[in-house]
């Protein structure tokens, strides 16, 4: 059973610090990295995979630096990058066979594994089709298939569900849950529901730092007393929506039920409710998304 230890990892690109002094210990289980775009999740995962070298700090697998383990470490890895790479002229089967060869899967076993992965991801019927004809969802499924080819003990998935429809997303979640025993699975996403039900531990990343870490229960407990519900009239709901972070709006007759995330009671009559992971996300990343929205508006 591998154990990954990240010790004061920092990555700096020119003037920008993408990952700032992150220390973690990862053992068996599913870890969900949540954070807004630009939080440093992808950079951190790239360092764990050995694609990028940390500016400072070190990553150890079972006590040995991953650079020293070299191929032995990469044998344990399954990686799905955010920008999934493929050769457009390869068929799905040829592509998986190629990656199996590069992953040092013995040739007789590789054929078996390729078929197994194609079945698991529902691509058996398309195995002879060229990848350039695949839809976004099919590409993502192919990406998941290649990540699982070598039966990895450390599975790293960066935004694995982008482009998947709800049915495929549920199927993916079930696959991950079924694989979680005896492995380290690291999932990076900004879609809360992707990790809410399957992650053993949630790690919230903001501006290159881990700002919160714990089980879903622990993380949501920290937001106790910061989520409120209030039944408002249409005009009042508009005003509250502009003033506070609203995680949900639901019409109830001629009134609107608002779910507000706020440190203080937003208005008389608002009642505190149990926070969910989405509320926690909104609590931490509201200003970031506002900033991104502002930038997007400016560029438009």
């Amino acid at each position: 059973m591998p154990e990954l230890r990240l010790d004061r990892i920092t990555k700096q690109f020119k003037n920008k610090i993408a990952v700032d002094n992150v220390s973690l210990c990862l053992s068996e289980g599913v870890y969900g990295f949540l954070g807004a775009n630009g939080a440093g999740k992808t950079t951190l995962l790239r360092m764990v995979c050995g694609v990028l070298k940390p500016t400072a700090g070190e990553i150890r697998c079972n006590g040995t630096k991953i650079g020293k383990l070299d191929g032995d470490y990469r044998c344990l890895l399954g990686y799905l990058p955010q920008d999934f790479g493929y050769y457009p002229d390869f068929t799905a089967r040829r592509y998986l066979e190629y990656l199996a060869a590069c992953k040092a899967v013995p040739r007789d076993l590789a054929r078996e594994k390729v078929q197994e992965m194609l079945r698991l991801t529902g691509l058996s019927c398309d195995q002879r089709n060229k990848i350039k004809t695949f839809s976004g969802g099919m590409l993502r499924r192919l990406g998941i298939a290649q990540a699982l080819l070598n039966d990895p003990e450390i599975l790293i998935l960066d935004e694995p569900t982008s482009g998947l429809d709800p049915k495929e997303r549920i199927r993916f979640r079930n696959i991950i849950s079924s694989l979680s025993k005896g492995r380290i699975i690291i999932l990076s996403t900004h879609i809360v529901s992707d990790v809410e039900f399957i992650a053993d531990e949630i790690l919230l990343m903001k501006q290159g730092r881990i700002i919160e870490q714990g089980t879903v229960k622990e993380v949501t407990q920290n937001a106790d007393g910061k989520v409120w519900e209030y039944l408002a009239g249409p005009d009042e709901s508009l005003r509250l929506n502009e003033t506070f972070s609203v995680s949900n709006l639901k019409n109830e007759g001629d009134k609107v039920r608002l779910r507000i995330v706020s440190d203080t009671c937003p208005c008389d009559g608002a009642v505190p409710v149990r926070p969910g992971l989405e509320d926690v996300y909104l609590y931490h990343f509201e200003e970031v998304s506002e900033h991104v929205d502002h930038l997007e508006r400016r560029t438009l």
Binding site: F13, R46, C49, G50, V51, L52, K53, G71, D72, R74, C75, L77, Y79, P81, D83, F84, G85, Y86, Y87, P88, D89, R94, E97, Y98, L99, A101, C102, K103, A104, V105, P106, Q146, N150, D151, E153
Partner: protein, 243 residues
């Protein structure tokens, strides 16, 4: 008494064997492929287009040199034709190194057992072997005494080495350019580079041999420098592995 055997309980034996098989199947057996297996694994995934193109190029070069001989053209023209073909063959071989960096594959390949750096080295080695074989064939085509073969070798090596240097330099420096545009521009440039000396026929006279030798030595040095640069950049990761 010697022949006495305890009767075997076949049912228990089968149970034990299946338990052993189950345990064995759970063991992760690490496979460390031999070097020749790694080379073959890269070769077998080259597209058929690559082999067809290389074959066609070789055939065309042989036919052209045959025609030139029949027409009793001088060695200079045969040599120039072989140089151009060798440059194109070299570029086709190197394009397989370039392919590793296209379509966002570099990042993924860097995380595999056989990582990007190793793949680049293997493909370069394969390209080098193929180029050497072609070079030997072309030299055999031009024929002549050993000293003449040595001179022909240098004449053919110079455009070949410098076009490879150019290819590798563009590969590391023009990462943002589309690979199709890069390959096209490079094909034109290298072709021009190989044809270039044809316009100055006097350069093939023996008194200018020192110039060719100097260019060959510089080309060899630059080729190693470019390979080193490429590998260092892959190790850093930032510029070569991310698209």
């Amino acid at each position: 008494m010697d022949g006495y055997r305890f009767p075997l309980d076949e049912r228990k034996k089968a149970q034990c064997l299946s338990a052993i098989r189950l345990e064995a199947s759970h063991k992760r057996i690490r496979h460390a492929p031999a070097f020749r297996e790694l080379i073959w694994d890269q070769l077998r995934f080259y597209s058929w287009k690559h082999w067809v193109l290389q074959g066609a190029l070789l055939l065309a070069a042989m036919l052209l040199s045959l025609i030139l001989r029949r027409r009793q053209a001088d060695d200079f023209h045969t040599l120039a034709a072989c140089s151009v073909f060798l440059v194109f063959a070299g570029n086709i071989c190197l394009s397989h190194v370039g392919n590793l960096f296209s379509f966002h594959m570099a990042e993924l390949e860097q995380t595999l057992y056989l990582n990007l750096k190793q793949m680049v080295c293997i493909r370069m080695l394969e390209a080098g072997i193929a180029d050497l074989a072609l070079l030997a064939l072309f030299l055999a085509t031009t024929g002549g005494s050993p000293s003449k073969i040595g001179t022909s070798l240098i004449y053919m090596l110079v455009p070949f080495l410098w076009s490879d240097v150019l290819y590798l330099h563009m590969l590391t420096s023009l990462r943002s350019t589309s690979s199709a545009f890069r390959s096209f521009a490079l094909g034109l440039l290298c072709g021009a580079l190989a044809i270039f000396p044809l316009y100055w026929e006097f350069l093939y006279q023996s008194e200018y041999l020192f110039l060719w030798q100097g260019l060959a030595a510089a080309g060899l040095f630059m080729l190693f420098a470019e390979i080193n640069r490429l590998i260092c950049r892959i190790e850093e990761g930032d510029s070569m592995c991310l698209n």
